[in-house]
Symmetry: C2
Subunit: 402 residues, 2 copies
Amino acid sequence: MQEQEPISDLQAVDAILSKNGFDALVATAPENVTYIGGFWAMTHWIRRGPQAYVFWPTARRSEASIITTTSTLDLVADQKPWVSNVRRFGYFVFEGMDRPGLDPLDQAQVDLLMGEEFPGAVEALVDAIREAGLSSGKIAVDEIGMTPQAMARLREALPDLTIEPAFELVRTMRTIKTPEEVRRLRRACNIAEASIDASLKAAHVGMTEKEMARIFHRTTVENDATPVLGVIGFGVRSTLTNSQPSDAALKEGDIIRFDVGGRYMHYRADISRIGVMGEPSREIVDKYAALKNGVDHAYNVIRPGLKASDLFEQVMDAVRKSGLPDYKRNHVGHGIGIDGYDLPNIAPGSSDVLQAGMVICVETPYYEFGLGGLQVEDMIHVTEDGCESLMKSDRELRIVSA
Amino acid sequence: MQEQEPISDLQAVDAILSKNGFDALVATAPENVTYIGGFWAMTHWIRRGPQAYVFWPTARRSEASIITTTSTLDLVADQKPWVSNVRRFGYFVFEGMDRPGLDPLDQAQVDLLMGEEFPGAVEALVDAIREAGLSSGKIAVDEIGMTPQAMARLREALPDLTIEPAFELVRTMRTIKTPEEVRRLRRACNIAEASIDASLKAAHVGMTEKEMARIFHRTTVENDATPVLGVIGFGVRSTLTNSQPSDAALKEGDIIRFDVGGRYMHYRADISRIGVMGEPSREIVDKYAALKNGVDHAYNVIRPGLKASDLFEQVMDAVRKSGLPDYKRNHVGHGIGIDGYDLPNIAPGSSDVLQAGMVICVETPYYEFGLGGLQVEDMIHVTEDGCESLMKSDRELRIVSA
């Protein structure tokens, strides 16, 4: 089985583990299992509770291992993750295992089924840690995806093991995007843009938010992405920060706020555009222009070495100088990747510094009761000498003709 | 603000809490926050890590409370959950709060923003527990959605509090479905069926799995459901238990396996149907008939009082007597609700007993290397005097004409 090439920044993974004196990492949250091991375990993504791990010895000084249920071995055979060693747990039945002349895809599953069946995820993990000679080592365990019961059994089975939480540490590992990650993020972004375009093209007075959402998500799934964030709000509902499409109908003069983005090959989009049904009021035009100035200005200043907290101040200043003198925000953006909120935090007090290879969302949302919600949000790739937009669309207010 | 009527089985919630001597429950996993409090906190559902809770004193002997970030108060205003008391945490900015004559939706948000801003989720939860006079009480905490850090801070803040894990306990509370839950499950089920119908209608030699998946998910989103489970596998890929649509093209004689279901108003579908492109082989026809017999037979025996382990044996026997004498399975189904795997477990050794109001998936999957994957899976509502199918479609093998 020829495994896929890693698409993650595994050098950063090893460097951060080494720097912190860890002998190994155990990834447990869905996004981290996929990021560290190249393995997407379906049940792990669509439910809470199922356990799947990647055991990753620092710099792969011993063998890395995927730990997953027998019923998900097919996904290993099909995905060919770069971590190709697998420990399986749990009973599951397949027939025809000794048929001669099986298809390579069948054979890959049979080969995986030949491995020992562990009673549970923790027993398989303990076996991996023991085989690596790390029973009394120091291990970073992503605490978000492991149940407290599993954590307790791990501590009991390996009392000399030093365990430290790793969820925030793995977030730092994911900060810099590889070219393949940027490609996926760009595609996720462009699919979200196409979905907005299709929605606004169909917009008309009397259309409900749900009717528009059907067109939005239809465009997303027709482009092989999965709906995740689908905030669409008309008029007074545009002020709802997380507006879920309702039966509210579009009226003349209404703001149409999109804060949206699906998942393409596991990678997220998160963008915002604003439409107006017919003629926008002067207040909407002016305030939108100020918010857009904030994002426009970000493109002028984003470069490696800029502090995220300075970017925050620059964007806030640009908005305040151009029509919203009292503009206040907790942040004006964040990284994006396999999770919708990667590092950096573009916020006051952030210690993050922009680096080439980051992909960031820069946004200037504004919610005013009695007026509506306005927002501009772009996905931007930080490059060696500045930045490039991942967007295909401009940032103008989109006027929908009646 | 007129809150929505509860749609959950809150009598069961209180009865199970009382029986186990708990003074209160803290729901933390997304499905449990929605189930117990009627509140759907978007970021909680689409990411891992964000915290949202429902504090539920047993039998509401003091006030229940939603604990969520300030940035999600809009969802409270819009959803009007039956738990209407809210404790918010975190900084978020809205303008226009003192404009006169606000729309009721705006005003509802302003009213929520008037509440105290807690620094974090744990501080808000501690305040709720203290106000209920339960600082030294016994509380069930759903351990899946609370970070270990939050759990540690809770224990530190309230050292006299007795905390026991509740995730499995809340699963037992969700077992019996109310009429509104059954309605949503039926609709989710019928949307999945319509998506299969549309997919098979478009099926033709040379079509790829991805092309079919686009039609499948498009039908789902056009019916206001969200894609979740989208296993579609052709030919050798039908044996992949979790087949994710690929560029593999449909060939004459191929099995087309669907194991699918989205989410409608938070409630899940999980059904399976099998198509064949052109003339199926005798082996496929015969083995499918045996598997179908298993589910057919389930309809004859499902009634309140039947042990789930007996249902397992009955279904297994029916399959074994009708063409697959060596049929083996770990289970032949499970409950379904706001999670895809609710109780009961239809498995050997299960202590669950069928009760009126349960909604169950009965399934007879069969994976044979060299042949393919075959599966029948229906959603069935257990009624006072037997059962009713939630399905609109029959269980026959679907022959696609070339």
